[in-house]
Symmetry: C2
Subunit: 395 residues, 2 copies
């Protein structure tokens, strides 16, 4: 009876060339079969300590506290805002995409006075605009930026903005949900005080964990709050007590997700950061070459294109949903639709973590060569895969 | 090199007779191998809808919205407080254990005027005390209670308190982290407006998800807030949009954890709610009989003992940590220490979900018969398992 009403799970496998989640490594699935045990047991604590150490390597930090919160990527960004901000604090946030706006919304909900430095979608933000804005304010609590704007496929350079924030005694806060594990994220060198990511992008783990790094300056600000954060669950000072050497109970740690990220991080470090970043760059370059050879337009600023996400204009007359549905049904490929002001105007193609392979990008180009003409947009069939293959061979 | 520094996961299996997480069903581990796909894909949405329907059956509600939040049990309790409360609201919270205090702390952090109705740890709260307190306040936004106090092993009757809350036009909010799936939780009949639980207790899934039920009255209160909740991530109105029929994107759904709870809920419904509740009762009764036959004292109020958690006084002179370490190392059994004012004074023995079996409780009693005399506390060896077996046979 129960079986009839609620059938066994039967979910088709997909090649996940979306904005996430990405394909999970078989070793990560295997790690999730590790028996669940208590989060306070001596036998479990090496898992916590191992994750923290490996995160420090990938975040390139010796100075920050690294941990993974039981929440998705957005929960990680909010934990930073909820732990650092108090009502009335002035914050300066760069806005050049959907996730920038989300960060600003989170800061606003903390009662902060949110100053937006408005850029353009699909362009990176000029640090000068941040410098000009900072000059207008006497005291700024933090400057917040999105490193990899998933909605526009743009990578935001951070070092200069970090320097400006420091000059104004402001903390520097970064959303690295989409970049972490696929591009360089150099926390110490860039002077980042709070940065968070998600498990389901370039780490190729299931969604539900937010890796993060918190500087001592950020911890000090948290420790000196006038009143407690409105969030107990996302209060990073309390979470730090579990991840610190005393492992004090806060909330139940998400054991299986932690097994997953432990294995995911091992895989990242085995490949090597530099090799991994290059693989993401190389595959993204080949995809772009292929798309352009098909006459498609990549809408992001040429100088600041993300390797992780390639945003392509949907050709006029082509049905957004129909193409995505055919990709899913006939080719088992998932790509993402546009968000916010780009909804219905672009597709976003992800090449992240395990999904960033030559085979995947060639298959997608081949699928587009088949589908687009049938949907009323002629392309030079064969030219996409040829250009991509050429780019791969020469890189 | 990486392998040397970060070895492959090697975590010993345990019999989890702790307060959670509990042992995960093999079918749940298998479900977690289901391929991760996009949270917005048509092929994934039946999983969301199936979980929502099954949660409605277990919460015994036809009227509330049921969903599962990407956070642990405490995150679920906080989501209720963060979504319902605004600064200055008056709330009345019963306090008779560690998790009652946590609920009060969460309400306080929302800027609410928190009125505590103080009971005793390890006793249930007299509804008359709630009635007396409510009379003193003109306007109360909500009355909050913990159904199953994990720190004391006490079950709190809720119907009378719910009635009192309604009489005062207050919402009735319940923490059912430890009871849900192991004891009756009748949301509609009891008139509960917001209730949440955790995946890792009686559902025997890994930790990291908070199942919940939200009444229309609670949704109305959220919809009529003067200002937004300080939490975007835990804003239940936004989360409801994803779980509702339009499945609007909020944050990335924790795909693998959702596969796990889908299968966990199927197992609960296949066993049948009544049969499952009786199994928990029967095994708890046998455990208590065995512990008492060994001369140990169960510290919770006899009339309101939880089937899920049995709190036992640590005999004088016996070393708390030593006994727990021996149970873990020699018998692969995990039990929990005391929390808060009971730290060092009690052990808490859990019999929840998959871990609630006759074999497990007999093994624990046998282990205690072996360990306790060696740790300086004489017990009538054999009497514990005999009494438990007798209780099982007669039930």
């Amino acid at each position: 009876m129960v079986h009839q009403k609620y059938p066994e799970l039967d979910v088709p496998a997909r090649i996940l060339l979306s904005t996430g989640p990405t394909n999970v490594h078989p070793r990560v699935y295997k790690a999730m079969q590790t028996p669940v045990i208590g989060y306070g047991e001596a036998a479990f604590l090496p898992v916590i300590d191992g994750i923290s150490s490996m995160l420090a390597e990938v975040f390139q930090t010796k100075e920050s506290l690294t941990m993974a919160l039981s929440a998705t990527g957005s929960g990680g960004v909010e934990a930073g805002m909820a732990s650092l901000l108090e009502p009335g604090d002035t914050v300066v946030i760069g806005s050049y995409g959907f996730f920038c706006e989300r960060m600003a919304e989170m800061a606003r909900r903390q009662g902060a006075n949110v100053i937006i430095v408005k850029g353009e979608w699909a362009r990176s933000l000029d640090p000068q605009a941040v410098a000009d804005e900072l000059k207008k304010h006497k005291s700024v609590k933090l400057v917040g930026m999105v490193h990899a704007e998933t909605s526009t496929g743009v990578s935001q350079p951070l070092e200069e903005i970090s320097r400006l924030a420091k000059e104004h005694d402001a903390l520097f806060v970064v959303d690295a949900v989409t970049s972490f594990g696929g591009s360089e994220v150099a926390v110490d060198r860039w002077g980042v005080d709070y940065i968070s990511s998600g498990s389901q992008k370039c780490l190729s783990c299931p969604p539900g964990l937010a890796p993060m790094a918190v500087s001592q300056a950020a911890l000090d600000v948290m420790g000196n709050r006038k009143q407690s954060s409105p969030s107990w669950y996302l209060d990073l000072l309390l979470i730090a007590n579990y991840w610190g050497k005393d492992h004090v109970y806060h909330h139940t740690a998400p054991i299986s997700s932690l097994y997953a990220i432990y294995e995911g991080l091992r895989i990242v470090l085995e490949e090597g950061l530099e090799a991994r970043f290059q693989r993401h760059q190389r595959n993204a370059a080949a995809l772009r070459a292929g798309l352009e050879a098909l006459g498609l337009t990549i809408i992001s600023d040429k100088d600041h294109r993300l390797a992780q996400i390639t945003p392509v204009a949907i050709p006029e007359g082509v049905d957004d949903g129909k193409v995505r549905t055919r990709l899913a049904n006939d080719f088992k490929i998932e790509i993402s639709r546009g968000l916010g002001q780009f909804a219905g105007k672009i597709w976003r193609i992800g090449l992240m973590g395990e999904a960033s392979t030559a085979g995947n990008l060639l298959l997608l180009l081949s699928a587009l060569e088949e589908i687009l003409p049938q949907e009323g947009y002629e392309v030079p069939v064969g030219a996409g895969v040829a250009a991509a293959s050429k780019a791969l061979a020469s890189s």
